[in-house]
Amino acid sequence: MNKELVLRTLFFILLVLLQVLVFSNMRIGAYVPYVYVLFVILFPIKSDRYILLLSSFLLGLSLDFFFSSGGVHAAACTIIAYLRPQVLKFSFGRSYEFQTIKFSKVPIAAKIAYFSILIVIHHLVLFLLETFNLSFIGYSLKNTLFSSIYTLLLSLVLVTLFSKRKE
């Protein structure tokens, strides 16, 4: 339990640093990948829901401090943390109910579905709240689409690299 806690905390800090120092500077045009959502996506399935909610909220809030953005990242993270069980069920079906999923061993289609649903919801909330103005809805939707694709590709690459090294 304690080992798990230390690992999660390190992963948390690593993702915040990587997001601020690396991913935010990997801009293509106006599109930035928000790879830090991997924290919510890869959070252990068996853990308590309120721990996931709280740590996702804190993760978003830390990024809000770095980007001086109020609470937009916190809101987006909290929402995907809350919706995660439903998305898991939708993407992985029965195996989720037995809680036996290993992210490195699930079929690739289900994995892409799971990643992309959470990423799109996160980015949509993020960009809608960022402008907080319906006259910029075109901007929000366009950014959601392209940033989501970018985030998804980077996340999948990172996850694949990371899990291969583990074996």
Binding site: F66, A75, T131
Partner: protein, 269 residues
């Protein structure tokens, strides 16, 4: 009562979610309202310190450009100074109401709609909110929130930014805003049709702003009457390259304190 409690216990995850979501939404709404001290900002020692240490690399790469800019500014100032008689100017300079605090931009941003920048000077260096931030070439933005050692700047490339400007030629005033389209063009609103504004006219900071009057802002690239035929739609190209800012000056208006005190006195009487 017991039923209510057991119901709440069953829904405790949902309630916790609503609590966290409301906190984030309150913080978001607060960040979108003008003239409020912001709690969530990068003007603290942790985020500022990290940005500053990373910025050292960036500074090294751009050192040549920054040096050249400084040389050009010095040359320009020397030329202006050579027109004056030193003794008479020295006396006048004592009465200049502005002070300039040099600072370094340690975090830039220009691709979002709400661009907030971070500089490495804060409260202990005399920075307070609502001070103007300029460079050698033009204006950058307005101080938004101040920490001990760092401050954040609301960039002119922020959809809520609004700065009093005027036409250099005719002194007609307007306000500098940004429609969020491209970081290369900003807009001037409220220029009336009597102002005969043309392409290539220069826009400078106005009389009623936190900036000293007459600081260069940009050049008009498009000026057309709007649908009502009463006001101009004006696009301006900034003199500043917002993607490469480097060193800045924070403008401290010493007279502002006096003016505010007078205003408060006037209200009390």
């Amino acid at each position: 009562m017991q039923q209510v409690i057991s119901y709440l216990l069953k829904k405790k995850n949902f309630l916790f979610f609503i609590l966290l979501l409301s906190i984030s939404l309150v913080l978001t709404i607060q960040s979108h309202s003008f003239h409020k001290s912001k709690f969530i900002s990068a003007a603290n020692d942790v985020t500022g310190g990290l940005y500053e240490s990373v910025n050292h690399v960036n500074e090294f790469v751009n050192l040549d450009t920054y040096n050249e800019r400084l040389l050009k500014e010095n040359a320009r100032l020397r030329k202006e100074l050579s027109n004056f008689n030193f003794n008479s100017v020295a006396n006048e300079l004592k009465n200049v109401p502005y002070e300039f605090i040099p600072a370094k931009l340690i975090q830039n941003s220009f691709h979002k709609k709400n661009n907030i920048l971070v500089i490495n000077k804060g409260a202990i260096h005399g920075v307070t909110t609502d001070m103007g931030v300029i460079t050698t070439n033009g204006i950058v933005g307005v101080i938004e929130s101040v920490g001990e050692n760092f401050s954040t700047v609301l960039s002119v490339l922020h959809i809520q930014s609004q700065i009093n400007v005027q036409l250099k030629k005719t002194n007609h005033i307007g306000s500098l805003v940004w429609d969020g389209e491209t970081p290369f063009k900003v807009q001037v609103a409220d220029i009336t049709k009597v102002a005969s504004i043309k392409v290539n006219d220069t826009i400078i900071t106005g009389n009623y702003s936190i900036f000293p009057q007459g600081i260069n802002v940009g050049k008009v690239v498009r000026a057309e009457l709007d649908q009502t035929q009463n006001y101009f739609d004006v696009d301006v190209k900034l003199f500043n390259d917002m993607s490469n800012i480097g060193y800045v000056y924070v403008v401290k208006n010493k007279a502002l304190k006096e003016i505010n005190e007078l205003l408060i006195q006037g209200q009390n009487e």
